[in-house]
Amino acid sequence: MATIRIPPVLRPSVGGEREVEADGATVGEVLASLVEAHPATREQLFGDDGDLNRYVNIYLNDEDVRVLSGLATAVTEADSLVILPAMAGGARPSLGS
C-alpha cells in the first residue's frame, strides 16, 4: 500500500482525510485504487481521455511522475505519492472580473 498525500482541495472527496493508502504496482494503478475508493476524485484527477489533468501534478516522493514514466511509473509500498493541484490563495484578486 502506497501512501497518497491529499491536498486541501481534494479532501472533501476523500472524507476529509489528509493521507490515504491505496494498492497498486504503478502510479496509474494506485490512482485507480484511489478513484475506486473515492469516486469524487475522478474528475479532479483525470480528463475524459483518461490522462492526468494538466493542472494536477503527481509526485513520486519528490519527483514529478511526468519526468519518470508517467502513470506507468513503478510504485513500491515504501513510496508516497503527492497530489499537487495549482493553488492561488493570497492577496485579493487584482484582476478585474
Binding site: 498525500r5 491536498p7 486541501p8 482541495v9 489528509r18 479532479q44 489533468n53 494538466r54 493542472y55 494536477v56 501534478n57 509526485y59 519528490d62 519527483e63 514529478d64 519526468v67 503527492v82 499537487l84 493541484p85 495549482a86 493553488m87 492561488a88 490563495g89 493570497g90 492577496a91 485579493r92 484578486p93 487584482s94 484582476l95 478585474g96 472580473s97
Partner: protein, 393 residues
C-alpha cells in the same frame, strides 16, 4: 621581560610575510581574501576593490565566520601596515591560519601609488546602528546591506502575504519597495494583514502600508500603484524592478505575471496559501523553471478556491510571507541556495515541510522561447481563458 612597541613590531614583522601593494594589485579577484582591518571611520577614503572589512579589534572573533578554511590565503591591510602585521601574526601563530600576510605600507601606500580604490557609500551613524545585526552576519555584512539598500522589490498586494513581507523587507532596509494594490483596508483583513491598523479601515492599502513602512524605516522609498494589474499595464509596472513578490489569489494574474516576468527576465518569489497549507517557490527566468513549467494550465474555476471564499488561518500568510521575504533577501545578498527548481509545501496542522522538484519543461509555451518573442497578446493567456474568467466572475 617587557618589550617596547617598536621592538614587538619588529619581531612580528620578522615572523610574517609582507606583500608589496604591486603584488596585491595583481591578486585582486584571484581568490585571495583581502581584509581591511581599519576602523569603520577610516573607510571614508575608500577601500581596496573587493576587500572585506573586519576592524582589527574584531579580527579574532569574526575571521572564522568569513574564512572558515584555514588554508585560504588572506592578505590584511590597515592604514600603514602596523595593525595588519599584528593581525596576520595572530591569525598564523594563534589561530592556525596557514597563509595570512600583511600588505606593506597599508592603504596609504596603495593610494599613493595610484592603485584603484573603491569608495564605499558610507552608512550614516544611524544606519550603522539600525543594521548592526545585519552587519555582524558574514552573509550580509557591509556589502550585503549596501545591496539591500540599493534593491528594488515589487510586492503584488499589501494583503495577507504582502503585509509581513513588506514589513520585514522594510525593516531589513530594502531601499525601494513597490506595492500594487487598489483595495482599501477592511475590518476582515486585520486578522492577518498586519501592516494595516484598525484606525485605517477604509484607507487605501497602498497608503496604509506606506505609512507603516515609513514609521518603521524612513530609509525605504515606497512606490505605490493603487491600481489593478492587467495585461494593459503589467509590463509598464513591473519593468525595472529587481525582484517581484507574488501572492495574488487568482490564476489569471499569476499566469500574466509569469509570462511578463519571463519576458523581462525578472525573478518572482511566489507563494500560495489555502486553509492551513502553503506553497512556495522561486521562478528565476534563465536559471530555472517558470510557473507554467510547474502548472501548464490552471484548474477550472470550480476547483480553484481562493481564501476569500474558503478561509485561511491568520498566521499562515505570516509564515509564508516571511519565507518569501527570506528568499528575497537571499537573492539580493547572494547567500545560500535559493528555492529555484524546488517547491516547498508547508502543512501547518501537521507541522511538516515537504520539498518537491520542479523541472524546467523543454516544451514550456513561454520560457522555452526567446523572451523577446513573447508578444503582448500572449501574456497571461491559457487554454479556455475566456471561460475561466467568466466562470470565476
Amino acid at each position: 621581560m617587557s618589550q617596547s612597541g617598536g621592538e614587538l613590531l619588529r619581531q612580528v614583522k620578522e615572523q610574517i610575510t609582507e606583500v608589496d601593494p604591486s603584488e596585491v594589485a595583481q591578486l585582486l579577484g584571484e581568490g585571495v581574501v583581502i581584509v581591511d582591518c581599519r576602523e569603520t571611520e577610516e573607510l571614508t577614503a575608500g577601500m581596496l576593490p573587493g576587500a572585506v572589512h573586519i576592524p582589527r579589534s574584531y579580527l579574532e572573533t569574526r575571521i572564522e565566520g568569513l574564512v572558515p578554511d584555514r588554508s585560504q590565503r588572506i592578505i590584511l591591510y590597515c592604514a600603514s601596515g602596523v595593525r595588519s602585521a599584528f593581525g596576520a601574526h595572530t591569525l598564523m601563530a594563534q589561530m592556525g591560519y596557514d597563509d595570512a600576510e600583511s600588505m606593506a605600507g597599508g592603504f596609504t601606500l596603495w593610494k599613493d601609488r595610484g592603485y584603484e580604490v573603491e569608495l564605499p557609500r558610507s552608512f550614516s551613524a544611524e544606519q550603522r546602528e539600525r543594521y548592526s545585526r545585519h552587519l555582524l552576519v558574514p552573509e550580509v555584512g557591509v556589502e550585503g546591506q549596501q545591496r539591500l539598500l540599493d534593491a528594488r522589490v515589487l510586492l503584488l498586494g499589501a494583503g495577507g502575504l504582502g503585509s509581513p513581507t513588506a514589513l520585514y523587507l522594510a525593516a531589513a532596509g530594502v531601499g525601494t519597495l513597490g506595492i500594487v494594490d487598489d483595495d482599501v483596508v477592511d475590518l476582515s483583513n486585520l486578522q492577518r494583514q498586519v501592516i494595516h491598523t484598525t484606525d485605517r479601515i477604509g484607507t487605501g492599502k497602498v497608503d496604509s502600508a506606506t505609512e507603516t513602512i515609513k514609521a518603521l524605516n524612513p530609509d525605504v522609498n515606497v512606490v505605490g500603484y493603487p491600481t489593478r494589474l492587467d495585461a494593459s499595464n503589467i509590463i509598464e509596472i513591473i519593468e525595472g524592478w529587481d525582484i517581484i513578490v507574488d501572492g495574488v489569489d487568482n490564476f489569471p494574474t499569476r499566469y500574466l505575471l509569469n509570462d511578463a516576468s519571463v519576458r523581462l527576465g525578472i525573478p518572482v518569489v511566489s507563494a500560495a496559501i489555502l486553509g492551513f497549507e502553503g506553497q512556495l517557490s522561486v521562478f528565476a527566468p534563465g536559471h530555472g523553471p517558470c510557473y507554467r513549467c510547474l502548472f501548464r494550465q490552471p484548474p477550472p474555476a470550480d476547483m480553484a478556491p481562493s481564501c476569500g471564499a474558503n478561509g485561511v488561518i491568520g498566521v499562515l500568510p505570516g509564515t509564508m510571507g516571511l519565507l518569501q521575504a527570506t528568499e528575497v533577501i537571499k537573492l539580493i545578498v547572494g547567500a545560500g541556495e535559493p528555492l529555484i527548481g524546488r517547491l516547498l509545501m508547508y502543512d501547518a496542522l501537521a507541522a511538516t515541510f515537504t520539498e518537491l522538484k520542479v523541472r524546467q519543461d523543454p516544451q514550456c509555451p513561454i520560457c522555452s522561447r526567446d523572451p523577446a518573442e513573447i508578444a503582448d497578446g500572449e501574456l497571461g493567456v491559457f487554454p479556455d481563458y475566456e471561460a475561466f474568467c467568466a466562470a470565476s466572475g
